[in-house]
């Protein structure tokens, strides 16, 4: 937990009310976002995202699996967030578990859409190989390396970057079906298919401090929040998921106002992230060939 004196609390709250936060930002300005892709060679795709002192890693691993009998034409995605005790001493032992499950559940809600996959950022039917028999299981694992607020937005960005860095191996399905009914598949280790990430939404968390909302709150600012609303929004400006945090109640009209502010902010964030991801990919390619 952040220990703040009364004076410091007033300074933070007053700054937010005057649209000049303690690190010089305006209420709706993000910290500098730094994206690095391909940081984990063992994974099929990975990215590291830094927002100020918040530092997270997202990795994607694809494995062959069996589709869910209820959705035979779709692949599966599982998402897990790990809060390492290296980030904060309170994550030690079972301390990080609660935050981990909360973040995982929220990210799942924001990125994977409804129960039948509608509104999902990831097209699950593209992961199908042989209907009802074989599909790709996508394991998205995130690690919180260092935490200084706004973990959810950073994790969302890391997953987006990791997915665009992901190459799914091309698969050849043998025409003959073996005796046990399982089709034989041949996974290519040279040819990869680029993953389509145009539908992956970004997450914008608006933290309400006093009567105003701010984006990209640091942990000091988060300690002063009354409530926060995280909205995931895709490129078309459609809302893909929403969660509220913090105990204080909100007037419905404020919720709707926060959604429209989040929508406005998301446009800039998507563009900024896209250019950062493109730059990171270019940088990785250069060093890979050099």
């Amino acid at each position: 937990m952040v220990g703040l004196s009364v004076g410091e609390k007033h300074f933070i709250q007053g700054g937010i009310a005057q649209d000049l936060r303690s690190d010089g930002r305006k209420r709706l300005t993000y910290r500098h976002i730094q994206v690095e892709t391909g940081v984990i060679p063992q994974a099929d795709g990975s990215a590291r995202v830094k927002m100020g002192a918040t530092d997270v890693i997202g990795s994607v691993k694809a494995e062959l699996g069996k589709p869910n009998p209820l959705q035979p034409d779709k692949g599966k995605v599982s998402l897990y967030v790990d809060c390492s005790p290296t980030a904060a001493p309170m994550f030690e032992g079972r301390g990080g578990e609660e935050l981990s499950t909360e973040l995982s559940a929220t990210l799942q809600r924001c990125l994977l859409g409804g129960k039948n996959g509608a509104g999902a950022g990831i097209d699950l039917s593209s992961l199908s190989i042989v209907e009802g028999k074989v599909c790709w299981d996508l394991y998205i694992d995130c690690l919180v390396v260092s935490s200084d607020g706004n973990l959810l937005d950073a994790l969302g960005a890391a997953i987006k970057a990791a997915l665009s860095n992901t190459g799914i191996p091309k698969v050849q399905v043998a025409a003959a079906v073996s005796s046990d009914g399982q089709p034989e598949v041949d996974v290519s280790d040279e040819e990869f298919l680029q993953f389509d990430t145009s539908g992956v939404p970004v997450i914008v968390t608006l933290t309400k401090v006093g009567r105003h909302y701010i984006v990209d709150a640091t942990s000091e600012e988060e300690s002063q929040m009354s409530s926060a609303v995280s909205v995931s929004i895709n490129r078309e400006g459609r809302i893909c998921g929403l969660t509220k945090r913090g105990g204080a109640g909100l007037d419905p009209s404020i919720v709707l106002d926060m959604i429209s502010v989040a929508k406005h902010v998301s446009e800039q964030l998507i563009n900024k992230l896209d250019s950062e991801i493109a730059a990171a990919e270019a940088c990785e390619e250069e060093s890979g060939h050099g």
Partner: protein
Amino acid sequence: MSGTAPATYSPSPTMQNKKRAPIFTDVDWVRPDGRGFRQCRGAFLRTGAANAASGSAYAEFGNTKVIVSVFGPRESKKAMMYSDIGRLNCNVSYTTFSTPIRGQGSDNKEFSSMLHKALEGAIILDSFPKTTVDVFALVLESGGSDLPVVVSCASLALADAGIMMYDVVASVSVSCLGKNLVIDPITEEESYQDGSMMITCMPSRNEVTQLTVTGEWSTPKIHEAMELCLDACSKLGDIMRSCLKEAASASQE
């Protein structure tokens, strides 16, 4: 309650015989239990379901049956740090026979923390420093919209236990099926849904304590769904309040 009964809720738990799932096309379909799209299931609420608890409540919305017990305020565990406000501890569990496939209810791990977040804003935690209130919810039968029923029932149990609250917490969810918004969905509808929204709110303060949205939504649709939920929440709040009044007047006699 006013003489003209609200269309959304009727306190009569009548369930028709089971029918097979229709295929939800965009044009014309009837809900499996014959309700209108904007009609909630009949709500049956009772306080004082468990004897040992400081307060308890039983709720039955169609096939969804939930029992919630509240213990405390009692002394916080010794290992807990000193706190000048009270603590709230929530736990939601499913009976193994609550779902068609045995033990399936344990998929809903995040329900406990969702219940906590929905209630903490409504309870006046300053009124019981250094102590803990335990809220244990048990889903006896899962019939869809489980969490909203749990939340509403838990706030009723808290009121029964005499825990100070700003207002009762009422909760309603809507499912988006194709172009239609369907309020208070049953399990079958939930499994076909394209998106869902759940609101927990304090009706007389007009405050949303918890809000979750899944699936893809346009802004006008969010507005529409929120309005629908809030309207149903205020009606449910009235029913909850009349249930509490009934229990109080019965105990006086």
